[in-house]
Structures are given as structure tokens and as C-alpha cells.
């Protein structure tokens, strides 16, 4: 930690800071500059509330040196985390990117869900997604089928062998969702629902943690840290677009560079959700391809058997024929990347 004192800071003020830090077992090194004095404090920052130092007289600025996340950091674990499932599917590391597809919400008519699930299976996707509990901005929108929806998902899994991804919105529902899901999803608006993160940390269930719309990389990884710190290492990050200043052309801003940043600073797998990021069907194919080329460990997309009648997010859902066409292109892209050894570069750039 670096403490920068105000230009006119007195010896006494400097000493008070130094004593406080020494009492917390920091090793101190002081640079008296002509203009400013700088105190370097080496030790475990986690013992001190760095911001509390800001209230000492004469302190101008505190700069932390170490990343505040620890378990999630590449420093603490060099090897990529790979999340494995009982059927052999793997996310992360050098494994081929996975595909997660399905409707936004699970709806009353299970046939639609099954139709999508069969198409997903046929085209090589590994996961079926679908919301049974739906976070909706408005109370007047469809709120989800809840347990019935979970049952439908389980039935689709039985028929297709796909793994099921579904969202949990509240600590109270966690045991129920865990009973049905292979992967639980934490929505963007719940990324800092810390009580729920802790509860998830106490399960061992793989979890897709979506980036909050206003979350920086540090806050995103610290949310993962909450889960890991409580015992669950199976965290899969998901970039799904951040809030931009103009939502008339895309719903959010897909921050694709975050994939590379995460790979550099963390060992956790990261997938990309172009459906929520853009909110526009015509952008899903190019952004899916871009995500793969940028090194993402998977993509998640919305597919609906009849988007015109979808109960939520129809506009950003692919139809089944669109999805099939996209999967063909994506599979071909993955193949050529692999055969030309271009994935090597992707995977290695973060090193």
C-alpha cells in the first residue's frame, strides 16, 4: 500500500500514519520528496481498511498495490480452472468453447422447450438454458414458472442429455434450484447479492456468475471471490454487456476485451452472452464468433421455437433455423482455428 501525504503534511501527521500502520505489522518505507512524502507500507492490506486511512490528517491518497481478490487471481493459481461435469463436459483451459442455448424463460408449453433442446443437442451444444425464476424490471412482466419450470428443464435434460443451466434469484430458492440444475446462474443484477453469493459458496454446484452492468473487473472478480471464499471453486464468469451511454442501438455494450483481461488476472473460465449484451438478433452471430476468437471458454445464447410469441426477450432470441445456421458457422470456425493452431495464440495471449 502506498500512502501519499498532502504537500504540507507535518512530521506529526506522517508519524501518526506510520505508527498506525506499524501497529498493524506493516513494514514501512518513507520517501521524503521535495513536494510530497510517500509512505510505502508492505504487509497484508487485508488487515486494514485502506479507506479508513484517508481520514487521517495530512493524507492525500491511498494506492493499493495488490489486487484485492486472492483466490480468484492468476497469482494464486497459475493453471486455468477447468469445471468438469459428470458426463465429461469441461469448461475452461484448452477445451473447445462450450455452447449454452435455450429460451430466456421456460414457458407453459413444454413442447417448445423440448424442440429447442433437441435442436441444441443436434447441433452440438452441451447445455440447455432457461429461466424458471425471472428477474424482471417491471412487476407487470412474466415472473417465471418457478418449480414447474425447473421440472420442465429436468425433463428436457432426460430426453436430450444436455446439462441444465438456470438462474437462482434468492437465497430461499437456492436448495430447490440446486436440486434441478447442473449449473446455477447468478444474474447480472444479483452479482453483488452477497448473502446469496455466500450461500452459493457453501454448495459445490458449478455457478455461472454474470457481470453486473456497472461492475468493473475488480468488483466482478471480488464477487467470484465471495463464492470461492465460502468454499465453492466452480465459478464460471460471464461477460454479458455493461451499461453504456446509448441504448438505442444495442441493449448494453459488450466488453469483449474483458475476456482477455480476465484471462490475464484470473484462472477462472469466462464465457460470453451476446444475446443480453446486444439485445439484437442480428448481432448474435458476429459477436459469438468474435467471442470465440477472443478466447472465450463458451458462449450462451437465447433460442426460441417461436420468438414472436416469446414471453420474454423475443427480440434477442434466435429462431431454431437461425440457431442451426449459426452453429454450423461456429463449428466450422472452431475447427479451422484448431486445425490451423490459431487457438494456441488465443489461449496463450494472456500469459
Amino acid at each position: 500500500m502506498i500512502i501519499i501525504m498532502e504537500p504540507g503534511a507535518t512530521k506529526e501527521q506522517i508519524n501518526k500514519v506510520v505508527e498506525h500502520l506499524e501497529s498493524l505489522d506493516f513494514k514501512i518505507n518513507i520517501n521524503y520528496g521535495e513536494v510530497l512524502t510517500v509512505i510505502a507500507a508492505i504487509g497484508d492490506k487485508r488487515l486494514v481498511q485502506p479507506h479508513s486511512l484517508m481520514s487521517f490528517d495530512g493524507v492525500r491518497e491511498i494506492k493499493s498495490i495488490q489486487d484485492p481478490f486472492k483466490l480468484a487471481s492468476r497469482e494464486s493459481q497459475k493453471e486455468d480452472t477447468v469445471v468438469e461435469f459428470s458426463n465429461g463436459v469441461k469448461i475452461g483451459g484448452k477445451n473447445r468453447p462450450v455452447v449454452i442455448a435455450g429460451p430466456c424463460s421456460v414457458e407453459e408449453n413444454i413442447d417448445g422447450l423440448l424442440e429447442v433442446a433437441h435442436a441444441a443437442k443436434e447441433m452440438g451444444a452441451q447445455f440447455l438454458r432457461g429461466g424458471a425464476f425471472k428477474p424482471r424490471t417491471s412487476p407487470y412482466d412474466f415472473q417465471g414458472l418457478e418449480e414447474k419450470g425447473l421440472k420442465y428443464l429436468a425433463q428436457a435434460r432426460e430426453e436430450t442429455g444436455l446439462l441444465v443451466v438456470t438462474e437462482v434469484m434468492d437465497t430461499l430458492d437456492l436448495p430447490l434450484v440446486c436440486d434441478y440444475a447442473d449449473v446455477i446462474q447468478v444474474g447480472a443484477r444479483n452479482m453483488q447479492n452477497f448473502k446469496m453469493l455466500k450461500a452459493i459458496g457453501k454448495t459445490n454446484k458449478p455457478v455461472i456468475l454474470k457481470r453486473g452492468p456497472a461492475a468493473g473487473i475488480k468488483e466482478f472478480l471480488l464477487a467470484a471471490e465471495h463464492i470461492m471464499y465460502n468454499g465453492n471453486p466452480n465459478v464460471i464468469l460471464c461477460e454479458r454487456g455493461i451499461k453504456g451511454f446509448d441504448s438505442s442501438y444495442t441493449r448494453n455494450v459488450l466488453d469483449l476485451a474483458a475476456v482477455g483481461v480476465i484471462k490475464k488476472y484470473s484462472h477462472l473460465p469466462i464465457i460470453v452472452d451476446p444475446s443480453h449484451a446486444t439485445g439484437r438478433r442480428y448481432l448474435i452471430e458476429p459477436m459469438s464468433k468474435a467471442a470465440i476468437v477472443a478466447g472465450a471458454d463458451g458462449i450462451m445464447m437465447e433460442v426460441h421455437n417461436n420468438p414472436d410469441k416469446a414471453w420474454s426477450d423475443g427480440a434477442q432470441s434466435l429462431t431454431i433455423p437461425q440457431f442451426k445456421r449459426l452453429m454450423k458457422h461456429i463449428s466450422k470456425l472452431m475447427e479451422v482455428l484448431e486445425s490451423e493452431d490459431l487457438t494456441e495464440d488465443i489461449v496463450s495471449y494472456a500469459k
Copy 2:
């Protein structure tokens, strides 16, 4: 709702949209322009997922006309909502702005809390704030005293007569928090924790709903709508700064104009939290005054008996002497505004 068709939309495409809307009891009016055709659909938008229309062929854009919030809107209730407490304190309408003061977290040493509470009472504040459950970005930071903290707050209430404001972070804790608090607070990061909003809606407890760091006015009022729709009308909004592109000088960007916007579009009271908005102690006084002059129904600020040793947010907490000085200035300001009839203008600008 206005549906704008693509320039080359066919008659068939137009008819398909019209039929769909008519089947939902919308009254339709079509304008065939030289370039574009525009369909106006008058009816209850809440019956249709406007975005689902986006997936119809030939549809270019959907524009909604009515605000999506209803119970929270000024249209549905012209009179300002006033939240009243058993001891006669009132928030909203033409009442003098209230002051909510206290430490960020309730800490182990109750004497500090009591010292702050007595100072708050002495200077004319009506509410004591303090977190027993703390949402913390990092799992390594202090997480709150939980029930013990609630008990400390109750003791401070008993000694001073101040009303208690404290945060609830999870549906599971809601009954416990309701037992102790006069007002429950929903933190910014939980603004869209919809399950918890619903549960709060089913109590009758006054609630301070903090604006999410990336929430627009519409999303903010829709979060209030979730609470109101479930039966609880006692919602007090709180502007606490939104995410900006530069956090090196202030923690967030205080969006003070939101006070006026909320007053125009909603009847709910709105208070301002300059401590979290700015994260800088020296900005609390000017921003508190600005909030009052801008028409806020109250201000909420952090005060600590010993900010240097605070377990959280020390840098943005006022010391007790600073708080007393600020309260003197603010009281004087409120008085002169009232005696000069300048509040009238403030209160009426939204009309």
C-alpha cells in the same frame, strides 16, 4: 405504443402486426407515410411484451408512450406521498427535510454508536442509521454484527427517541430486521433484488430504496413499483450517486437533478445521501445544502465518533464536531428558505 415499420415493410407484415395487437384489444391507427408506416396502438401496454413485437418481420422500432410504472407515477396520484411515523415525524410533501445520521456500520463498541446518536438527537436529526448487515465488495471486509447490531440500534433508539434505519440484504433476514427497524433500507446493489422487493412489499414497513449505481429513473421507479405492487406504499427513494467514468475524485456522481425529475414523475418522497455519492468528507456539507435547495425531502449522512478507526467507510464519515457544525448551517439554511418563502418555489417547480 407506437410501432414503426421498416421502410420496405410489406402490407402483409403490417397486417400481421395489426392483427396481433387487435387480438390483444388494442385500438389501432395506421399512418402510411411515404417512407415509413407508423402504427399507433392505444390500449394497455402491460398486456403485451413490447419487445416481443420487435421480432415480427418488418418492425423497425417500438416506442412506448406511457410510463411503465403506474402506482409510483404522479399521474396515478397527484398528491405527494407523506410517510408518517408514530412519533409524528413525516417525510415528504411540504414537510421540512429530515436528517438521517449515523455510522456506516454498527460496531462492537456500543458507546461510539450512543455518542453519535446523542449528537444526532441534540442537533435535530430524526433518524439514526447504522448497518448491522453490510454488503461488502470484498469478502475480506467487515460483514456486520447482524442481530447484535440490531440490538445496539434498538438501545440507541430507546435512549434518544430517534427512529432507526437499517439495511436488509436478504429475504431470509427480513423478519428479523423488521422486528428492530423503523425503516428498512434496500442498498443500491440490491435495488433489483426483486424477490426481496416483493417480500418487502408484503410488509407495511417504511422502506428507503437506494438507487442502483447504473439505474435509470425508469428502472428506479419500477423497483419502487415492485414494492408498491405487492402492497406497501411507504417507499422513500434515495439518490446516492450513480456510476461515473472517473472515480478518482468522487466515488460516484451525485445526480442531483434526479430529485426534480422524481418529483415531476412520481409522488414518492426522495432523499439524498451525499456520503456515498461523493465518498469525500469535504463534499458532504455543500452537497447536503444543494440537496435541500434542490427540493430533497431529507438527507442521509455518515457520522462516526472516531472515523480513523471506523470499520468501514471512515473516509466519508463526518466526525461529531464536523456533523454539529454542518447541522447548524443546514438548520439555518432551512430556516431562511422557509422564512423567505423560497421553499415554495422549490416544492412547486415540479408542478
Copy 3:
């Protein structure tokens, strides 16, 4: 244009708006709803300041229907614009993406520039970039070699046959820059320097227009419109990252979805600058590949013979060996995309 009246708007207020619009030759269609009255005005919006209508009593909101840009819009020209150079190089349409490479600034030592230029030529780049006039946030930073820098660039062109891209910062310098450059560049911070855009519009010089850090798609295309409206159709757009809320991991947020959006709404070519977008060397390769796969018509990147000693932006510059390695991978990627017909999908997605 759609004019939405306030819920309580009177007949007189409605009539006043209608008369005003009819006097401007708009065709009017009124929908009297139960709650709101909506006026649709079909005609040339460009004749009216839509915002001026906002000041009529009883008007609640104005919604424009047509995009405000015209010459730049896909509606006005279905075919992709292709910018051609005398040596046969082409940007846009179905042409292979071009590569623009070179140092941030042209520096005193011409040998470094020539070394980069020869490497660029060798690896298949078509353009050499380098700043002779440098927009610098601080007056204490290097401001550019001005005409001497332009001469160096011209010499590098002579030796290599590369086309020269360089920035113009001021209307006064435009004739000089046009004398030396094959393509002039408008920097992000000058995207709305309208006087300069107009002056550029009066030349016929190809121009790379960089997106402003806070510019929405509409503002971006309107800036292009300023150039086109004044007579110059040779506009190449450049996505270079927008302002985000966290600049600690990347300098800006690369908005890669903008490539697809621009392709849908405009016929102009669009290139991507991953160097400025990310500000991090390790992100240039993955973001370059992602840009190509997303349909960009070119990429622009910073390369320096000795980044440690660069006078500007060293941290985001590739070394020559890094650049060569990246070019090999990118060329391979372009080849496989072409041979597998995967470009077809990229190019066509916007249709």
C-alpha cells in the same frame, strides 16, 4: 415524427401543435387515446427543430422516426461504399480487411519509422500511420514534429509504397496535411469539431473519422454526415473504444458490436483500432482477430521499433517482432475465413 401530449393536454394545446406542423407542410394524423393524445406528423423532419416543439404547452415527448443522418444511411445507399486508392488498395465492401500500422507519433529519428514501415510492407499491411500533429491531454507531453513529421512519412511512402495515414488537428493545418497524406485522420476528440469536418468535406481526400469517446452511433454517423454533406463521400469510420466507468484494466471499452450496427445502418466502411481501444499490448492480437471476425473492414494498430523509448503511447505499441507474429496469425485467419466461406456470413449479417 410522433408528438405525445401530456395526459391533461387541452384541445387548444393540441390544435396549436397541429397548426404549427401543418404550416411546415407535415401531414397530420391524430390518435385521441383515453389517457394520452398522440400526433403523428409525416413529412421532412429536417424542416423543424423537433426540440423546439418541446416548448409548446401540453407537449410531453417528441419521438423522431427517421434517422437524422441521410447521406450516411443504408437507406439512402444500399451498396457498401468502397474507398479506392490509386495503387488499387480498397477499403470496404467485400474486400479483404486492410491493415494500418505504424508508430503513434513520428519521432525525430527517421530510421525507426522506416524500420516499422518496411516491416509493415513486408507483412502485407497497406497503410503506414504516424502522427505529425499530436493531440495530447497535457501540454507537457510531446506535441508532434509537424511538417517535418509529414516529410518523414512521405519519405517512408516513397521507400515502401505504403499509403500514408496521418491526423489533422485544426482547419488551419488541413491544406498542409492534405499535401502529404493519402488519408487524413480525424481524432476521437475532434469528432465534433464541426468547422474542421466541413473543411474536410470540401476536399476529396479519404478520411478516417474516429468515434468520440462519448459518441453514440447517431452522433458518430452525423459527424460523418457533416463531411459528406459538404461534398466528400470518402469517409471511413473507426471504432476506437468508448469511455467506460473503469479505466484501470483497459484504457477504453472497445464497442465491437458497433461494427455490426454501423454495417446495418450505414454503407460506410468501418475499421477498428484495438491499440487505443484497449491501451494494452497484450489485448491487441485477440481484439484484432475479433474485429476481423466481426466484419470490420480493417484494423489500425500501433507499432514501434523501440516502444520503451517511444515519445507517446509506448505501452500500447507492439514491437516489430510482436507485430510480425500478429500479422502471420491474422493473415492465416483471413485466409481460412475466405476459404471456408465464413466471410460471407460476416459480410451478410447486416442485411
Copy 4:
């Protein structure tokens, strides 16, 4: 400057950085931590491109200590800058906040301008504003009367004695604008038009520098530094709203806390423009009052004799009666603040 090395940085890498800095006359202090090594370099950072150090192997992060602005900083000048005019009007320091009022654009009909000017004079404003050169997002909007507009402004000055504020958009127009204006204005979109800032720096004309919509405090003060560094100390800063993520309720986000931040870090006067910041007429009064209470040295607002027919920005312009009403309230507010010594607190909070 603080250089933080990567966890695994070698002795050689550390030495290379140290040697480079020593060659630039920095005094070096190294802290070898258990995890990270931190190099403190005390000296004149302006001699080194801090970012160029980022490209040294093993360097993880560079943190600058001193603010990069110097002439504009409070450190270099403790006393508030006061900009004085020949007629005795003063902006800054302990002087009463000034008022700048007038139409967005100067229009064909001079009578309207004169009517506004007389009202401004009558109500105690000191400055008349009006654009003769208009930066317009669209080329189809009114671009300004140019010299004719300047003449109209001069005539209004002659009749009323008000000082004239008008915008310069291009270096080429600067001499002409200087001939007519008492204060030249640099628009938000030109805040980083560095060539023009330099040219303005070479005049001695007072200048209002508007904050760019995506400019942080540092970039804002560095833009001022460009002017000051070239010789002109008469810079008046203007907060006019920054880009937010939701422009449906206000045009921009008024960052009122910036007033206090600027007062702390700089000695330059700062005024507030609530018209452009909010874009909504009903918000001008509360935000004007809030600005005054927050310590602004002046407010600038748009007033039009007939906003319904204004050629630009009608919706955010006050009518003359609205302006008069607002001026009465504001004058009363200034009076009570002064008589109650509440200004003292405002002025002093930044100390």
C-alpha cells in the same frame, strides 16, 4: 511516481527501470516486498512519459503522485483566481456569483435578442450570452449567423452595458470572435481541440472553458492548463453536465460535486450551466440554486423571448417571465446566504 513491478520481476528488470529513471534525474527508493517490489521515483515526472515505462519488462503498474496539471493547481497558487472586467465585474473568489443569460443562438431578428438583453440587465445579470457560431450535431440544423451575430451581440452590449460571451469553434475564427466578445467560450465538444486552446492561450481574453461530456476532472484541468501554459491565465471553468447512461429524462448528468472538487484542486473560478446540463426548463431553477449553494462562481442559462420559435434548444430555454421569476428567487437566496454568513461555509469548504 510509483512503479509497481510484477510479482515475478527479476533483479535485472528492476535495475533496467531504475537506471532509466536515474538517467532522467529521478531520486530512487526501492521497497523489496515479499510479493511485489515497489520503486518510488521522486523528481519531475513531466520529464518522462510515464506510460512509456509500462513497456519495460516486469513493470506492472505506474502510479503518478503529483497532479499532472501545474499552473491550474491549487498547489501552485493558493489564492483564488479572480477574473476582472473593465466595468468592474469580477468572477471568482469571494465575489457574489455572476449570472450569464441569453439565447442559445443569435437569430435573424435582433429585437428578440435585445428584449432578452434588457431583461437580463434589469434583473441584475452581468453577461449576455448568444452563439454566432453554433456547433450542431447535425449538418441540417441551423449553423449560426456568424459575423452578423457577433454584430448583434455588440449592439446589445452597447444598449445594455452587459458583457458579451460567445463561442469560438475554430482557430480561424478566433481573431474575429475576440474582436467582438468580452469572454470567449470553448464548447464542450471542443474542450480538447488543443490547437484552438493554444491559440486562445496566446490571447489575453477571458475564456469560459466548458467541460467535455466525457472529461474527468484531470482532463478538464489539463485542458485549462493548455490555455494557461500558453500565457492566458483568465480561465473560467464551466460544469455543464457529463454523459450519463440514460438521456430520456435529462440531457446530461449535472455533476455538481465537481464544483467542490475543482475548488479544492484548483484556484480557477467555476460556473455552472444548468440549461445544457439538464436540457429541461423545469430543472433550471432548482439546479441554479443548488449550484449557488454548492459554491459556484456563477451560473449560465438560456433565455429566449419566444422559445417555441427558437432556432435551437428551445426546450431548455426559459421564457422572459420565467427568467425574471428565477432571478428574483436567486437574488433573494444570494442575499440570505450573505446576510447569514452561509457563503463563508460554502467558500471555505474546499480549504
